[in-house]
């Protein structure tokens, strides 16, 4: 279906937005001094900064397009994938998060090497890269689908232009740029989504003569008001299939295997800040995000019910978002909302590109290099890698464009790529007995049985919960249950016939050791006494050691001893830890209210002369 969208003003607004974000991201490049900063942001940020940047990562441009489509077709049940992530929070917050934070693994595959062996690491690397690069391709496709209608540029050329634009600010900035551009983009996309809802409700009010919200609500049928889909019908959108594909495989994949998300949590200044970010995100931000990404579809459905003919009858699935926005928003505002779609794309794509680079550098480049590489070489390689990742993603775009809708392409993706990794990481963390041969068998044997399931859908029938089999297209979402079952089955059976790993090898890598991880991280007994946080002035000394020296009185107030870990940050709270450093308490001096730090702390923290710092004991 063809329809004209956007005016000159809209085009200018979108271009201005791209320029602003690229400049913003490039500015924060100065905070990336080495690969730890480039990938992890230096483990220094406050929970609220991590939360907002997670929003922008979780809400991709595909979210706007795919959820609007399902919201238009089925109503409020489009939100169910945003509202089913709480079940795994205990395991994430008190199992996986402390493990990855305190063991200082740089990537998920590195965990597989430590827990199992090098072979497991390479298999995990391959699967994770396939998953992330495919995800980036879906992001490119989504935004290009919207923009090529506005600018009239061919779809693939639009994809290439978007890839180049995201490369520019990523290239210079790394994770700190990603977090700060995501902060601004997170706000923009939530505001734009809610603005669209407001405009849509107003439009409905004008068309029907009822008050806005009343016009919206009364023009949805009872079925469209249900928050969960029909149990097992139709095949392209049913509750039970989507529960296994998204609520189980997708949630575990997102929380435990999404390298981009993991890197966000590793950029938090402490595990507790990471927990706060995770809890606030799932409890408060995800329900708001569900409204933000779905409401164009709900408004479109209410418009179609109330005023038939306003929206084209043959509206294509992926066009719902753009078509509805075009109707309810005035020129300029339409451009702003599409710019928010750009925000969603760029923030999700940049996180995934950065994460893919981290995996390639940490899990392929470094282990395979014969000589030790300098930080500069690794950083340069990381930047080149991010370009390579985008090139492959662009090449994959036509494949994903062949699905009926982006929702289905994404669903296929989750149910196919996550189960072996989900089973591998889950059994690895929560079952000490799970062995190295078993994880290899899970990856290879499980993948083989999954392929069999794709070729012979009858194998999936016992798991189908009565979902209809579509001739020639198999089972889509419920395939995730079969895939998890066969992978777990292979893993459990092989484990029972192989020798368990030694306790020494597993030390600190399973949930059963989480209680002693802090001690492993610190390297000595931990000091759990709760002390005060102090606002303090700083002076530079010429020491080369990584220690900070406080007065005896200040250390007493913080309940700190020499050798304990300390975190200092610029005392302006709204910087969220951007200017900060971690270090160790040294021997005390006698000048109260003063901390002595060295040039390296100053370079890393970018502290400003004359401005005070806030200091706190970590452990």
């Amino acid at each position: 279906m063809n329809f004209e969208v956007g005016t000159q003003l809209d085009k200018i607004v979108i271009l201005l937005y791209f320029t602003l974000v690229m400049g913003f991201g490039a500015y924060f490049g100065k905070y990336s001094k080495n690969t730890t900063d480039y990938f992890f942001g230096g483990r220094r940020f406050a929970w609220w900064l991590i939360t907002i940047s997670i929003v922008a990562t979780g809400v991709g441009s595909h979210s706007f397009v795919k959820y609007s489509t399902k919201a238009y077709q089925y109503g409020l049940s489009s939100t169910m994938t945003y509202m089913n992530d709480w079940f795994f929070m205990p395991l994430f917050m008190f199992g996986w998060l402390p493990i990855i934070y305190y063991t200082k693994v740089k990537s998920i595959p590195e965990y597989f090497e430590r827990r199992f062996n090098t072979k497991a690491r390479y298999l995990a690397t391959l699967m994770i890269l396939l998953y992330m690069i495919g995800y980036i391709a879906i992001q490119f496709l989504t935004l290009a689908t919207a923009l090529y209608r506005i600018y009239g540029i061919p779809l693939m050329l639009t994809v290439v232009l978007i890839a180049i634009a995201t490369t520019i600010y990523m290239h210079f900035g790394g994770q700190t740029s990603v977090i700060f551009t995501d902060l601004i983009q997170g706000f923009i996309l939530i505001f734009a989504g809610l603005l669209l809802f407001f405009l849509g409700v107003q439009f409905l009010g004008n068309q029907t003569g009822l008050s806005g919200l009343n016009a919206f609500w009364t023009n949805l049928t009872p079925l469209q008001k249900l928050p969960l889909a029909h149990f097992n019908h139709p095949p392209d959108f049913n509750f039970v299939g989507i529960f296994w594909q998204d609520g189980i495989a997708g949630s575990v994949g997102f929380l435990f295997l999404n390298q981009g998300l993991i890197m966000r949590f590793m950029a938090a200044k402490s595990v507790n800040e990471g927990r706060k970010a995770a809890a606030i995100n799932v409890l408060c931000v995800l329900p708001i995000s569900a409204i933000v990404v779905s409401n164009a579809g709900w408004i479109g459905r209410a418009i179609a019910n109330a005023v038939p003919g306003v929206l084209p009858l043959d509206l294509a699935a992926n066009d719902v978002f753009v078509a509805v926005t075009n109707i309810v928003a005035s020129p300029g505002v339409f451009g702003f909302i599409i710019a928010a779609l750009c925000a969603a794309l760029m923030s999700t794509a940049d996180t995934l590109v950065n994460a893919s680079s981290a995996v390639i550098v940490n899990d392929i480049y470094e282990p395979l290099s014969k000589k030790e590489k300098s930080e500069k070489q690794k950083l340069e390689f990381a930047r080149l890698t991010s370009i390579g990742v985008k090139v492959i993603a662009v090449i994959l775009v036509p494949f994903f464009n062949s699905f009926d809708s982006i929702y289905e392409a994404h669903g296929w993706f989750h149910s196919t790529f996550t189960p072996p990794l989900v089973v591998g990481v889950f059994l690895g963390i929560f079952w000490k007995r799970f062995t190295t041969p078993a994880v290899i068998a899970t990856f290879l044997g499980g993948a083989f049985l999954m392929v069999l399931g794709q070729i012979y859908p009858e194998l999936i029938r016992p798991f189908s919960h009565g979902i209809e089999l579509r001739p020639g297209r198999g089972y889509s979402y419920i395939g995730a249950l079969y895939n998890i079952f066969v992978c777990a089955g292979v893993g459990v059976i092989v484990t029972l016939f192989t020798k368990p790993e030694s306790e020494k090898k597993l030390n600190g890598l399973t949930i059963f050791d989480v209680h002693k991880l802090k001690e492993i991280f610190k390297g000595s007994a931990i000091n759990e006494e709760i002390g005060e946080k102090l606002v303090i002035n700083w002076k530079l000394d010429d020491s080369n050691s990584d220690i900070l020296r406080f007065s005896k009185k200040d250390m007493n107030m913080m309940k700190a001893n020499p050798g304990d870990l300390v975190y200092i940050q610029d005392s302006r709270w709204w910087l969220g830890g951007l200017k900060s450093a971690h270090s160790i308490f040294g021997k005390p001096h006698n000048e109260d209210g003063i901390v002595y730090l060295n040039q390296s702390h100053l370079d890393h923290g970018q502290f400003v002369e004359g401005l005070s710092l806030k200091a706190e004991k970590e452990m």
Binding site: L76, M83, N84, W86, F87, F88, M89, P90, L91, M93, F94, G95, P98, P222, L223, K225, L226, P227, L228, A229, H230, F231, N232, H233, F239, V240, F243, G247, I248, N272, R275, A279, V282, L283, P287, F430, I511, F512, V514, H515
Partner: protein, 70 residues
């Protein structure tokens, strides 16, 4: 609207999802990753349980509203 459209998905979601949640709570307590004797951990345990009830309540509320609407 019949049961397969209204309460069956809800019961399945909080039945199967609830099992995953309870398994998670038990394992983090048993492994001492979550220590209820620590004030901070005890607060987190309450947040975790609240989150489960919060989502179940939202879904139940909307099902009631949809079933009762015209």
């Amino acid at each position: 609207m019949d049961f397969t459209q209204t309460w069956l998905p809800f019961l399945y979601l909080y039945g199967v999802g609830g099992l995953a949640f309870i398994f998670g709570m038990l394992i983090i307590i048993k492994s001492r990753a979550l220590r209820l004797t620590y004030a901070l951990h005890s607060k987190w345990a309450r947040v975790l349980i609240f989150g489960f009830i919060f989502y179940a309540s939202i879904h139940a509320l909307f099902i009631f509203i949809a079933v009762g609407s015209k």
